[in-house]
Amino acid sequence: MFALPANKASRSDIEARGHVKASVRNATFAREALSRRDFVKISGVCAAGLATASAARASEKQTLDADRKGVLVDLTVCVGCRRCEWACNNANELPHGELSDCDDQSVFDSRRRPTSIHLTVVNRVPGRDGAAPTFIKTQCMHCEHPACVSACLVGAMRKTAAGSVIYDASRCIGCRYCMVACPYQFAAYEYEKALTPQVKKCQLCQSRTSRGELPACVAMCPVEALTYGRRDELLKLAHERIDCNPDRYVNHVYGEHEGGGTSWLYLADRPFTELGFPELGPDSPAQLTETIQHGIFKGFAAPIMLFGLLGAIGKLSHARAAHTHAVQTEKVTP
């Protein structure tokens, strides 16, 4: 037997009958512990688990439509009127007050971030050498290969074929790993709710766009700083604008490649790092973890091999011990 040590029997007890018992015990282990049958059984269970897991994985394979949508934000156009904030709260049935409240400039005094009751916020970054300030609308970036989707263990975050990253509260367990994963950290959480908190973020007005309407913020923007459309066309448009006005823009469309690309794209008149945009490589943060994870668990090969290896070690060492004990017992017993 390969059981836990028999430490309830007194020491002398073990010593008196120990060798014989131990040899029996070890021999039994050698024979039974990792019989082929057991091993096959276990491998079978693992393989079944693997099959389900990989089936689940296959269904999540990124299927991005060629005509997936996005929004282009031209920061050189935005005047910081914050009408988009109001429209967003209105469309998402969040507290919004009067439209005239948007004229309150004091909110610009501190840098704000999206919260559970403001899915989008506009910040002001002072201009260089007395130039006009830049206003930056922020919201979930709707990544092409979203870290939050990759992180969520129950599939509550999903990248739709249409381009948006949407959240399904009915699956969510509230672990907030999606927030840890998001490179922009724009997802917010309803901490004040005791029982039914949700992760709150821009859903790219999924309900409106599916009816053929524009996202609320885009529809509201009085200066057309926001353009909704196919992502590939937006990129073309962005590069056209840069090419036609090389003095007006830096030659960089933020979101084209950042973190594997995003559905929200930004144009600006100065480097994005100056505006507080995070510097991200061309790969999604999810790329690396998925590679590590799938590398280790591919086909459950590593765990199964480890199981086999440990079994073999156990079998060998116990067989050897059994042998030694048998020899000893022979010598001791007349």
């Binding site: 430490n7 840098r111 870290a147 263990l153 901490y191 060492s317």
Partner: protein, 404 residues
């Protein structure tokens, strides 16, 4: 195998003045826990959108999992490489792992905003195979079950031949006893599979715990952020597993007043410097490889944290355990084990909290009183349960001798 085991009058009492203090901490923790479930995370914690994870994840879960590693490291050494001499250490380590992981699960549940939906993790149509957290969750759940199965023989041993239900229930004594005997026999036959499974599951989730923070990218300081995190976590789990066994064994012999098994522990301690050595080499190569080493000299908070973590938790115990005389003294062993434990705790805290900077810094996170209370309360409960089981079940061999 004889089943005689007498719980006689000489056994240590459960309640001592110190234990009452622990009970008080546990009660305060329970009250804070209640407040969390009534008022929600927002009212009792300092978590926010910048710091979605606080000490409940960093200490209760991340450190908890690491410090419960004694279970699988001892199981490996004692059972799989079949070293009889280490068998006395297996049961206490198993017990620590079992209680530890139970509280890891409780810690997770406390932190989950929608805890009532926790079972979604078990529904195949909810599974998201790309998620590292999914892998950790499934592994930990399976491993807790395995730990309980591994503990069952101890329960059988405690009650076989000694089921004495009072009054009318007496008729059940016979059947229950037969049931326990059957269970014990059946378990004996399959236990090897569970022990191996336990080691495999541990290796899987101990390493994945490290993979967990890789996705946080630049938010984790470059001194820690590396694709090698899973390997570092696994190596340090091995090292801290052995250290916990030594630490607890010395603590138990002190508190329950029997002679420490210094020789045995010294033999177990030999593994630690080997592991720390491999860890150090890997760490240096990784830092050089990623060109992150220069952060060590920039005098930032992160560099200080790293130097303390590495100096105290890796270098110092390595030196102590390399000196034969120190390794064979209870004091040297205790110091080295404590340092490794402190180092691993600090490492998990750094990775999950202290070296983590949100993209948009809101306000720095400092745990709220209720967060401290819950964490301290959990630790107190672990101590109480451990003490209760050790005093009532055949777990520590020397204790039996003290009683006899």
């Amino acid at each position: 195998m004889t089943r005689q085991h007498s719980i006689d009058a000489s056994r240590p009492r459960f309640f001592t003045p110190g234990v009452w203090v622990v009970v008080a901490i546990a009660l305060i923790g329970a009250a804070a826990l209640l407040a969390r479930f009534i008022f929600g995370l927002g009212r009792v914690t300092n978590l926010d959108n910048g710091y979605p994870w606080g000490i409940w994840i960093a200490i209760d879960v991340a450190c908890g999992v690491a410090l419960a590693a004694g279970g699988f490291t001892t199981a490996f050494v004692a059972h799989l490489t079949n070293r009889e001499e280490f068998h006395p250490l297996v049961r206490p380590a198993l017990l620590t792992a079992m209680i530890g992981y139970t509280f890891v699960a409780l810690g997770v549940m406390t932190d989950l905003g929608r805890f009532w939906a926790m079972w979604h993790v078990m529904l195949p149509w909810m599974w998201q195979g790309n998620s590292v957290l999914f892998e950790v969750a499934i592994c930990v759940m399976t491993y807790v079950t395995v730990l309980y199965i591994e503990f069952l023989p101890i329960v059988c041993e405690r009650f076989i031949g000694r089921v004495r239900l009072p009054g009318a229930l007496r008729v059940l004594n016979g059947p229950i006893d037969r049931l326990l005997r059957a269970l014990d026999a059946a378990l004996g036959r399959v236990m090897s599979v569970f022990i191996i499974l336990g080691v495999v599951l541990s290796c899987m989730h101990q390493s994945s715990l490290g993979t967990l923070m890789v996705i946080s990218g630049a938010k984790l300081h470059p001194l820690w952020q590396t694709p090698m995190l899973p390997m570092f976590f696994l190596l340090s789990a091995f090292a801290v597993g052995f250290s916990m066994v030594i630490f607890e064994s010395l603590l138990a012999s002190n508190s329950l007043r029997f002679k420490p098994e210094t020789d045995l522990l010294a033999r177990l301690a030999r593994f630690i410097p080997i592991l720390l050595g491999i860890y150090t080499i890997a760490k240096v190569i990784d830092l050089l490889n990623r060109g992150a080493g220069f952060h060590l000299l920039d005098g930032s908070r992160a560099s200080v944290l790293f130097i303390i973590e590495f100096g105290l938790g890796v270098v110092a115990p390595f030196i102590i355990l390399m000196v034969d005389r120190w390794r064979h003294s209870a004091r040297g062993l205790f110091a080295a084990a404590s340092l490794v434990i402190a180092g691993v705790v600090m490492n998990r805290l750094d990775v999950f909290l202290l070296a983590y900077t949100p993209t948009i810094e809101t306000r720095p996170y400092f745990p709220a009183p209720a967060e401290f209370a819950v964490t301290a309360g959990f630790i107190a409960m672990i101590v109480l349960i451990y003490r209760f089981i050790v005093l009532n079940f055949p777990v520590i061999e020397r204790l039996e001798e003290v009683r006899a």
